[in-house]
Symmetry: C2
DNA sequence: CGATTTTTAGACCGATCTGTCTGATAGTCT
DNA sequence: AGACTATCAGACAGATCGGTCTAAAAATCG
């Protein structure tokens, strides 16, 4: 519900009704709504990383691993009810320092690190630049899929990513 | 305030206090908060289109006009307090059919139409494909700038856009 | 079994939300 | 001047918000 309707829009009462649980139980297990939202976002983060790892499984070539990230995204986008990046959405109306902002930062940093590490592993002369370009394409695919419900956005992004990877100079 | 703090976060009372206006006056001029939000988003839409038009001013070549869109974006991103696309942010926690959703659709449709029209004007064999790629890069630049505060995202996107434009087949 | 933990339904709290209403005041027209 | 339009400050309403509390029931565990 937080994902499909928005963190602000969904109140505690809606949550307990949907979960079929007493209000007291919720606050017995979570210190407050912030805590609940943090748990929601942590779950999202974990599942997203798992999905990427699953699509990278068995691949040796770091370039293929980079491209597999787009395959993982493609799976997510194709899922019914896709509404874009949960972290970006939650952050859109959250204040700096909020749990939403922290969750966003956690994922973004992980993504940037992952792209950079794979770029280095692949031997790109300017791995940071390659990582930045891929990150841009990733974000573009996410946003475009959400805002225009364009089914080909991810495929297009992967295509452009291939182009970037093929045209960037490597030491090896 | 709607832009920097979020539509849901900012209440009527905050608005009238900041505007130095009486509550009655606000509801005398606007039928409700939705109406106020709609006006806010319409203003954003107008200013964004104006900014793009300004950057395209004097240019004849449709390809240069396409690239000028990224220049306009660059100006917006560089402005202090940039927090991404106002429509996307407002829509992140809005329900389908809301004024936020309508405003988003209006701008997105305009952007898609504009890209397609310029692509056709430039004589691309597959103008729809070119427009889709540019849209993807545009969205990527917006999202990346917002989520990572990456100052070079727009420049990078324009560079990739140039690559796309140069490598796409044209009839003329 | 007894002791402890967890869940239950729902009343209740104070704060905040959008929106209304009042009655006076000010500005703008002909 | 007179009629109309707009603004004012702020009390008020009804709903909803996150969160607390109670007292009983249920589940868990040594």
């Amino acid at each position: 519900m937080f994902y499909s309707e928005g963190v602000h829009t969904v109140g505690i009462d809606k949550v307990i009704k949907e979960a079929g649980v007493a209000k007291g139980s919720l606050f017995y297990n979570f210190s407050g709504k912030d805590d609940l939202v943090a748990a929601y976002l942590e779950g999202r983060d974990q599942r997203r990383r798992d999905r990427i790892a699953r699509h990278q499984q068995g691949l040796k070539d770091p370039i293929e691993k980079l491209l597999a990230i787009f395959d993982a995204l493609n799976e997510a986008v194709a899922a019914p009810g896709y509404r874009g990046c949960a972290f970006a959405n939650a952050n859109a109306e959250a204040l700096p320092g909020s749990v939403e902002a922290k969750a966003l930062r956690t994922f973004r940093d992980w993504l940037a690190d992952t792209l950079l590490a794979l770029g280095k592993e692949a031997g790109f002369t300017d791995a940071a630049d390659v990582a930045a370009r891929l990150g841009l394409l990733y974000d573009g695919a996410v946003a475009n899929s959400q805002l225009d419900t364009h089914p080909d956005a991810v495929r297009l992004a992967k295509e452009l990513a291939s182009m970037v990877l093929n045209s960037s100079p490597r030491t090896t």
